[in-house]
Symmetry: C2
Subunit: 420 residues, 2 copies
């Protein structure tokens, strides 16, 4: 045991830990000694245990003081568990339908106990690879994003509450720095961690590293990421951070949460849908050419933005006389003006969404952490073809983000990119 009381759990010691933790015992009910425990962490950073007893279940997530997929050579504060549990609770309060309940948090042990999202819940990314349609996805994720982002922004919060929360989440700086490095820096320079589908994409990766125009735009996005405390964002809202069924959409893993630009979350989700889209040709086979599935992905992208747009503005309308001090009703006191102000706000948010979304796409193709959407395409040449189309699309979205007038234009660009 480390001097701070922390010790890494394993499937065995976890049993003792649970028995000594009343909040967990009470969930499992009487037969809590008939436990089945399985470590399932497939993520990059942490350990996740599913704990099932005859009369109850939960998930235990523990952060260790390094990055799991790299090892002890890449240290990373285990305090991230505190920010993850704080964000889970806050986002769960704002949108309980789409966030698993937190049952227990132990700061010393960096352990979160939360609702077990039981089968048929699977990670959305895996569903997208399998070609499964989720009819409620756009409806649900737009709900989650509209609520979590609106209610933690200055559109709803008083400056006093906003700055207090900003200050607290400044403590999650190590995770912010990790994003800065892997999203905004490494892909644009030679780095020992970068990978790409070599040799096919070597020239493409080099082109990214030599693209002055791209680097200028990335600098702007990075500075927004580092400086702009717009709302409590999830910080890692890719398709691997959602667990879904036909009727349920659950957002997990907000360990990168902090007060940052809203477009970083919306972009992460949409950008990863675009990656899923471009990977489909690699998954097509004689039984399924994936054509109609690609149409569904594009429709989901369109609906996500449009529904988010609608719901976010509806919240703004509903709470225009609320505690938020950004647009006082005595100042923004006529319909035309309120219209103009909203248009301006949403235009900037749309640009941010495209910019951050594209940056997150690029880093998944030429950076350290790739996505299973592409990685699961065995044939490297075919994989590289898919990735190249995605990369070119991302570069265009990022550089020209200010020129897109609607999500439909974005979808056209994706389709055209695909026909190249």
């Amino acid at each position: 045991m480390a001097s701070d009381g922390f010790r890494p759990l394993d499937e065995k010691s976890l049993v003792e830990y649970i028995k000594a933790t009343p909040a967990l015992v009470s969930i499992l009910g009487k037969e809590f000694d008939k436990l089945e425990i399985k470590e399932v962490g497939d993520g990059n950073l942490n350990f996740v245990y599913i704990v099932v007893a005859p009369s109850g279940s939960f998930v235990i997530k523990q952060a260790l003081p390094y990055i799991r997929c790299i090892g002890e050579s890449w240290p990373m504060t285990k305090e991230r568990a505190y920010f993850e549990s704080t964000a889970l609770k806050e986002h769960g309060r704002l949108c309980p339908e789409h966030v698993p309940e937190v049952y227990h948090f132990d700061r010393t042990m960096c352990v979160i106990g939360m609702r077990y999202l039981e089968p048929p819940h699977i990670i959305l990314r895996k569903g997208l690879i399998a070609g499964v349609e989720y009819p409620l996805l756009a409806e649900n994720i737009s709900d989650y994003m509209a609520k979590t982002l609106f209610f933690t922004s200055l559109l709803y919060l008083k400056t006093t509450d906003h700055k207090r929360a900003v200050a607290e989440f400044c403590g999650n700086v190590e995770l912010c720095r990790l994003t800065e490095q892997v999203v905004f820096s490494d892909p644009y320079k030679v780095s020992q961690y970068n990978r790409c589908t070599s040799p096919y994409l070597d020239a493409d990766a080099e082109a990214v590293r030599n693209d002055n125009g791209l680097k200028i735009e990335v600098a702007e996005l990075k500075s927004k990421f580092c400086e702009r405390a717009q709302a409590l964002i999830h910080g890692d809202l890719h398709t691997g951070s959602l667990m879904v069924t036909h009727d349920s959409t659950q957002v997990i893993d907000p360990e990168f949460a902090f007060y940052g630009p809203m477009g970083f979350d919306i972009g992460a989700f949409i950008g990863n849908l675009i990656l899923a889209y471009f990977s489909q040709d690699g998954h097509a086979d004689q039984a399924n050419d994936r054509k109609s599935y690609k149409v569904w992905i594009l429709k989901t992208i369109t609906e996500t933005w449009n529904l988010f747009h609608k719901k976010f503005l509806a919240l703004w309308d509903e709470h225009k006389d609320g505690p938020g001090e950004a647009y006082l009703p005595e100042i923004y006191n006529n319909t035309e003006l309120r219209q103009l102000v909203k248009q301006k706000y949403m235009k900037e948010l749309f640009e941010d969404t495209l910019g951050f979304g594209a940056a997150k796409m690029i880093r998944r193709i030429v950076g350290v952490a790739h996505v299973e959407d592409f990685e699961s395409i065995k044939d490297a040449a075919k994989r590289a073809d898919c990735e190249r189309l995605a990369l070119n699309c991302a570069k265009k979205l990022l550089k020209e983000r200010r020129n897109f007038k609607s999500i439909d234009e974005v979808v056209s660009t994706i389709e055209q990119g695909h026909l190249q």
Copy 2:
């Protein structure tokens, strides 16, 4: 005495306080009982005592839990003294030539002891009203701004240090809120605190309250002020926060300091010089038509921006391989790219400067706190004429700030405004 140990001082109790404070006793030397104490606070918020003994001197500034010029009916945290002393020390470390040394800080009593800026130091605003030229002003203030802003930004700081400092200054939220209210809100709505030179400017003030285009732009500036943690700004850098002589420029009173947009400081200074310019016709008399003085003010505006621009970029060059992580040298690895990145950075900073500067001008004409530059013009009709020209100039600068290509174009606009 309040339960927290705080008690307001007066000229009498201050003597006891000093005697009980070794750090202050030691400055006064042996004859510290022959004290002369005088309260000189002419500012809006706090009490300032000049303390002089035969062998030493200092100034004592105490914050009370309300706004001095309004009274106990407008409470304001006395914790502002903590942020003032912290900012004085930090800015003093970065630019000791232009910041008075802090000798003593008492958090319980909200008392700062600092260097007495002895005569002939006077408040710059008073010098501007008197028509005095300060040949080193642009050189010195550009030095102060370049150093304090550069070294507290991500161009120099690591994210880790930056976020730690951002978090700390989030604590100064009450002062930020005061700025939000008096700069970005009250002038654009009916407010009990607003004043203007009535009846002359009633219609102008009303026009400000009905100007949709202006309100949209002000919303953007306000959101930047609230959300963008770019550097440790002074937060109140008008010409009443500088004490000057022919050879010395000293910045006092950073009680509004926090991590905000750099343009707010540069704009405050330049905007207040523009106010000084437009007030000159009100001070002209047969002995002095103020014509050449107006030329000097315009020259000082031009030089301030140009010298700031030069020095800020020089610091950036000098520290391009320093701790700052915003523009890694491995990414921004060619001259053309570095050039482009700097141009973009400085263009945005220039726009912010004009926007914030103009907003600070507007609020001094139709908001709660006016400036002595205009207030000292006895003839109300004449005063209103001066103020109207300044107001119109400010509206133009604010709305069209993105179109100005250089400070020379700004100066032309000021001159033209004057010829209207």
